[in-house]
Each structure stands twice: as structure tokens, then as C-alpha cells.
Amino acid sequence: EAGVVQSPRYKIIEKKQPVAFWCNPISGHNTLYWYRQNLGQGPELLIRYENEEAVDDSQLPKDRFSAERLKGVDSTLKIQPAELGDSAVYLCASSSGTGDHQETQYFGPGTRLLVL
């Protein structure tokens, strides 16, 4: 069974440029998550989708970040414009259930973003 797929693995951009990350979850997983992990810290949730609905985006900086999961499968996270402080690893995760069964999340390898 294929795991969570993310691309690109690495991205270097100049500040004020846009950037987008793509995630394909494990087949059949209804719940998809985007996390940001800063150096020396644990992952922090940005947004959670159940199918195509964003059910928790309270931590997403909506002035510059946006996300979509149009068909309830793969998802895109966008930053426009990027700032120096956005340099981090962006992780995508998925889980098989909704409601009470989303406790075990499976992570992709992440996209390491460097903003210069």
C-alpha cells in the first residue's frame, strides 16, 4: 500500500514569491491534514479536511495561506506571498476515519521550504 505522497520534497524561493505544495493521501483515507514543523519543534496543525470540507482551519494564517481539496482526495497548500518566517517543513498526513476514529495519522515525507 502506497503511503502519503508529497511534492516537491524541497523548495527554495525568494520572499514575496508564491509557492504551492501537493499531497496525495493514502487511498481510502477521508481525513487529510496539513502541518507545519519549525526547526526543533513538533508539527503544528494548519488545517484538517474531512473529505472536501475544511473542518478545522483555525490555525491557518488566512491572509497568505490557502488550501483546497476539491474532490476529497489530493490537496494543495499555497502560500502567497511567502515570508522569511515561512521557512519550515510542511507535512501532510491522512487518517482513515472521521469523528472518533481519526486518532492514528500517517504522515508523508514533507516539503522542506526555504524562503530567502
Binding site: 513538533g42 507535512l91 498526513a93 504522515f107
Partner: protein, 117 residues
């Protein structure tokens, strides 16, 4: 507001000995706890979990202990192997509907485990 804390940034252990990684939490609404392992340039990998109705869960060389009254959990690895060297993250979630913590997995800062041959 760090709701899940791993106060030891690093731990060094000899091969064959026991590794004990600790985690404390402050939110009493958390009712499910997980440990993830992370190698460089990879995403976190699920290792073991425990529900708040239990105080121990064992899977091979890995055992997680939960002390709800102290809001403390620990991961024991015995015997430790060099391949266990990685960053270990403790995470917690509230599975009961209602409240701001519902459904949100909160991670600690991680502990770097090094197992020496």
C-alpha cells in the same frame, strides 16, 4: 501555551539497555496519546498509542505507560538498538466531541534518541 511537553531534548543510551522517553501534558481533555518516530528527511512514523482508559500498552520492544493523575506518559524501549536512533514525538488528542481540543493532534517538541553500539 505548550500543552504537550517533552522536557528532554536528547537522550543517549547504550545498545541493549533501556531507553525511557518522557512526556507531560496539561490539557485534561486529552484522552488518546501517541508516540511517533522520525528519521531525518522523513515524515513522522506512528509507533504506539494508548487510550486514557488504560495505563499500559505494549508492542514488542515498545511499551507506553500513562499516569493520568500526574498527566505524564513515558515510552520504554527495551532492549534499545542502534536503529532506534531517531527523534521521538509524543502527541495527544481529544476524541470526545466538543471543546477546542476535539480532533486536534498536539505534538511535543521531540526528543532525540541516540543508541550507541
Amino acid at each position: 501555551d505548550q500543552q504537550v511537553k517533552q522536557n528532554s531534548p536528547s537522550l543517549s543510551v547504550q545498545e541493549g539497555r533501556i531507553s525511557i522517553l518522557n512526556c507531560d501534558y496539561t490539557n485534561s481533555m486529552f484522552d488518546y496519546f501517541l508516540w511517533y518516530k522520525k528519521y531525518p528527511a522523513e515524515g513522522p512514523t506512528f509507533l504506539i498509542s494508548i487510550s486514557s482508559i488504560k495505563d499500559k500498552n505494549e508492542d514488542g520492544r515498545f511499551t507506553v505507560f500513562l499516569n493520568k493523575s500526574a498527566k505524564h506518559l513515558s515510552l520504554h524501549i527495551v532492549p534499545s538498538q542502534p536503529g532506534d536512533s531517531a527523534v521521538y514525538f509524543c502527541a495527544a488528542i481529544c476524541l470526545q466531541a466538543g471543546g477546542t481540543s476535539y480532533g486536534k493532534l498536539t505534538f511535543g517538541q521531540g526528543t532525540i534518541l541516540t543508541v550507541h553500539p
